[in-house]
Point group: C2
Chain length 376, copies 2
């Protein structure tokens, strides 16, 4: 079976096992309390029913009134501030459900709004996340230079640590703020922040639902929204790294298959779109072992006539820093696939030595120009 | 300012504008109904309070009893089936909030569980989505071949259409099923399916909460869970394409910057990790215009001595199908960056002509080996 299929199947099995374990633990942790709560609430209810001698119909009516009235107790939910809060909660896929559209038009608009808004939000969070990763990698590089480390690049592990720390900082700070404003315990507030920033959004704790905050506390409303949006961007930065990590795994699969084909028979070598050259290092990391010296025997030194003379001096200098090999003077290397319309594929021209550093696939999304895959 | 920064800023501005528009529309659609509902509910409540002459304390007690009792009405939520449902809802980030942990241990475990489960779930959904994209691209290719189309590759647009259609099919079918089992109107059921599969999960409509379904209807429970998990995988397939689309945009930015540097001064050309060679076509698509003929003048024909004789025959055949250019006989093209440890970067060796088709960046995640970027 293909490696990707095996991986997908293993992931499905893993996830189901994880769900089963989770179910067992939640059952063990909550089931008993649930039963006790239910008994206690039933007793209370029975006492109240006895005390007031409700008719069955009236009790159902009271139930409906109280449940339907719950969102209204927090003040108007659909005036501009509340509607903005709701739109944010939809776009970010949090969906607390503290207030939901009840009209046909509201539900229909919500569907259409989410269809456009969710992709827009995803791309925005990804984009901010990518910029944050870039910043983090710059800070890490400077820090390492300042500490006179031998290798100053930000590794993938460094970046994951950095975004992890930033996420923790945001959640713990947010927890302190909400705990103060909402009157929750610090633990509950932390739980709220975590559930919000992972976009689970149970809605058991929802900010801005006390003291008509949506109407009376514009500053707090703004703070909450900034917390949600910035927090989600930071989480996106972490997920950025994770998704990319997975994608590079997939790329490795494709490459491994190629290697198998390659070892079976050697044919034309093309530099087409299917080469996962996101990261020379990554791709090279798992190759049929060829050390630098062996590889030197097989190196292709491409040299097109154009520009070659202009590159000569620089080539020498690059040769000094590069341990062994070079592909020099090729202004363009061209895609030569039958269906490719033969458009040229650019090979990177470097202006300064900094840019000659290799990067991992992370260059795609996040601050990758200086990132190195720690695990390779 | 850097293009990526400009794009991120534009995205933030766009998203905020979109939120403002959404808030205005939701306000217009829901505000009036909310006011009327509130007035009606207040009147009902006042009538009931008058009728039964509740003390204020008793009314608060009734409120608490009824609200806290709501999840219990649907039967035990934390017995195994319910706990499994909850674990799924956490892992998939839906978070209906129909039942939430109330114990300290339950909340703490929920946090830890989500920290591991969400990345696991994301990767699984991505992986299934990628396999689905691959299947879709195969079906599209066969369909096109059967219809004797000139170009049989699955374009990005084809794939987006395919996953879009599949998502719609799942949501509409799901809506019919839930409408029947839950007694919702078809529209409400559609709204439920949409809100679930986008992982918004308001929790205003939640399946498996009637007639003690979690305990009494194991078949329906299984069906619901399969719907959620498979549905999310299909949505992941669509998001796959979207995220990748964004990532390739980023890659284009990096490349554009390079082009600017390149036009400023020509230096050594390296084939290092920073080259976004995910897709020769994509990268080439926006280059300083060089048509195939112009490009042919600049083509680098690399030929290493090793293996060249073995490739000779195949080269000729590939030459026939390739319109103009080739990089032939290069067994390896090597990364020559100063920090790259000079590990070789593989250039794809093709065994059969099918594999010579160029692919877009989509090859990374989804069925990409045969996908072409329609928009380039």
């Amino acid at each position: 079976m293909k490696r990707q299929n095996v991986r997908t199947l293993s992931l499905v099995v893993c996830t189901f096992t994880y769900l089963l374990i989770g179910a067992a633990v939640f059952d063990a942790l909550e089931s008993d309390t649930e039963r006790k709560r239910w008994e206690f609430l039933s007793e209370l209810r029975d006492n109240l029913i006895r005390k007031y001698n409700f008719s069955q119909e009236d009790y159902r009516m009271i139930e409906i009134v109280i449940i339907e009235n719950k969102p209204h107790k927090a003040g108007p939910q659909w005036k501009f501030a509340g509607a903005f809060y709701f739109a944010t909660v939809v776009l970010a896929m949090i969906g607390y459900g503290h207030s939901t559209p009840v009209t046909y038009g509201g539900k229909a608009f919500c569907i259409v709004y989410a269809m456009v808004g969710i992709p827009l939000g995803l791309v925005m969070f990804q984009s901010i996340g990518e910029r944050l990763n870039k910043c983090a990698s710059l800070v890490i590089r400077r820090g390492k230079r300042w500490l006179r480390c031998r290798r100053t690049e930000a590794t993938e592990m460094n970046l994951m640590l950095a975004t992890g720390l930033l996420s923790s900082a945001i959640i713990t700070t947010g927890a302190a703020v909400f705990s103060r404003y909402e009157g929750w315990s610090y633990f509950d507030s932390f739980y709220y922040c975590f559930v919000t920033l992972t976009t689970i959004g149970f809605g058991d704790y929802v900010a801005l639902q006390n003291d008509q905050a949506l109407v009376n506390k514009p500053g707090y409303v703004a703070l909450s929204l900034v917390f949600i949006l910035f927090g989600l961007a930071v989480v996106a930065a972490s997920i950025n790294l994770l998704v990319l990590r997975f994608m590079t795994m997939n790329a490795e699969d494709v490459r491994r298959e190629d290697n198998e084909l390659q070892s079976a028979s050697h044919h034309v070598v093309t530099l087409d779109g299917e080469v996962m050259a996101v990261n020379g290092k990554l791709l090279a990391g798992h190759m049929i072992s060829l050390n630098a010296t062996d590889a030197a025997d097989q190196v292709s030194v491409c040299s097109c006539t154009c520009l070659a003379h202009r590159h000569h001096n620089h080539l020498n200098s690059s040769n000094r820093s590069s341990p062994s090999l070079k592909v020099s003077g090729c202004h363009r290397l061209l895609s030569i696939c039958p269906g490719s319309k033969s458009r040229p594929m650019p090979i990177r021209t470097h202006k300064n030595p900094r840019m000659r550093n290799p990067s991992t696939g992370l260059a795609l999304l996040g601050g990758g120009s200086q990132i190195k895959r720690a695990s390779v």
